[in-house]
């Protein structure tokens, strides 16, 4: 049973921020509520005030910028990202990842901003969006900052958001020409045990850019820059050995945790397997788009 709370419906980000400041620890942002209400029903947490961000104008929706960046309002539900034509045409890996988050009911209601701000380690978007070098816009009354998504995650269920700050927008820059991104995950419970995102850019038969991010395995989703360096500038035809090495490095760097979703060893193994498959699928996707 839920304990009673007060619902606040601010008309602007500034007003929402002011409510958070005024009520301090007693208040929390409420978006889809798919995480928050569950935790409150369980009695794990309680807030006297929930601040609804869905009624703040302009916080939900997706649009493409003139430079090709995807701008996603924090209160945009997963289902919108799964089905929006500009996402599936320009950022197919994101649309596919979104279509496999949770189940359709959670995707209809749960938002991307809520997913990122909850910072549950077993989640998908935080890993994939990092290979796009996504940034997030954090706003409070009288100020705003934009930081790399990578820096939002501080630990399990912990972000760098200040008490009166809201996540308002996620900005995803387009990949360079001759690039593709792929996200693969594996799990046997509701949420993923392991998720690996890869983006590759090709030039003259070489890997001009390789980006790798691993999620769900350790406390926070992370870019794997040492592993990326193994693949950088390699001839595509001769990437097999480098790929295995990159897999080992990423597995070690992922800070795998033993939990209900599997042992650390098991997850490290899966990081290598999914990294190889994702990389090869990304190469095939670039080749495929050039044949068309």
């Amino acid at each position: 049973m839920l304990r009673p709370f007060e619902l606040c419906e601010p008309a602007s980000v500034a007003e929402a921020s002011e409510l958070l400041l005024r009520h301090g620890e007693a208040a929390r942002i409420y978006a889809g509520g798919t995480e928050l209400i569950l935790a409150m029903k369980e009695g794990l947490i309680h807030y006297d005030y929930l601040v609804n961000v869905k009624t703040v104008p302009g916080l939900a929706g997706v649009r493409l910028d003139a430079d090709g960046s995807l701008r996603i309002g924090a209160a945009t539900p997963h289902r919108v990202l799964e089905r929006d034509p500009s996402v599936s045409e320009r950022f197919p890996a994101i649309a596919r990842m979104e279509a496999d988050v949770a189940n359709v009911r959670v995707r209809e209601v749960g938002t991307l901003g809520g997913n990122l701000c909850f910072a549950e380690p077993h989640a998908d978007p935080g890993a994939l969006l990092q290979v796009f070098d996504a940034t997030v816009r954090l706003e409070r009354k009288g100020g705003a900052r934009t930081i790399p998504l990578e820096r939002l995650f501080v630990g399990p269920f912990e972000t760098c958001l200040e008490g009166d700050e809201l996540l308002t927008e996620i900005v995803v820059p387009p990949l360079a020409p001759r690039s593709a991104a792929v996200y693969l995950k594996f799990g046997f419970l509701e949420r993923p045990s392991v998720g690996v995102g890869v983006a590759v850019t090709l030039a003259d038969g070489h890997v001009a850019d390789a980006r790798i991010a691993v999620g769900s395995v350790g406390p926070v989703p992370r870019r794997m820059r040492d592993a990326e360096a193994r693949l950088q500038d390699r001839p595509v035809a001769d990437s097999e050995a480098a790929l295995a090495e990159a897999g080992r490095i990423a597995a070690r760097a992922s800070d795998a945790i033993t939990d209900l979703h599997g042992s650390a060893e098991y997850k490290e193994h899966l990081v290598g397997v999914l990294l190889r498959r994702a990389f090869q699928a990304a190469l095939a996707a670039v080749a495929g788009s050039e044949r068309r």
Binding site: L2, P4, L7, G33, L38, K41, R79, A102, R105, E190
Partner: protein, 165 residues
Amino acid sequence: MNAIPMSVTVNGEAHALTVPPHETLIECLRDRLGLLGVKKSCDVQVCGACTVLVDDRPVSACTVLAFEARGKHVRTIEGLAHGDDLHPVQEAFVEHGALQCGFCTPGMIMATVALLAENPSPTADEVKHYMRGNICRCTGYKRIVEAILAASERLATGPRTTDGG
């Protein structure tokens, strides 16, 4: 605690209600409106027994708050049949024996109605993907998938041109 006045249409009928913010949609539908076809099982958005449609979108009534339905149309299993005249999805479930204990069935059927409104001719794989969050402990799913595919054909060719609502 603030009370929230709201108007909501449930199965075609308009209601003016006042709900506290912490009232869940399932409490509102079952306890206030007596719609006992809405089932609660897992209570954590995993099983789908509580699936109802809010403006045609499937949601977990166990966790969505009631006030979120303000100004919207809610449909439950009770809103599908016209008297003894079953909805084509209900008919398909009966004909294909797609239920045993029946506890998951209202949610299965509501999710199917949402799926077919969005994708009138799904493949078996699309059906399985969409229905992933609706769990049945009895049937083993085979007959459920068959019933959904049959319902899709029935809706495409049958006498009713709408989804029955």
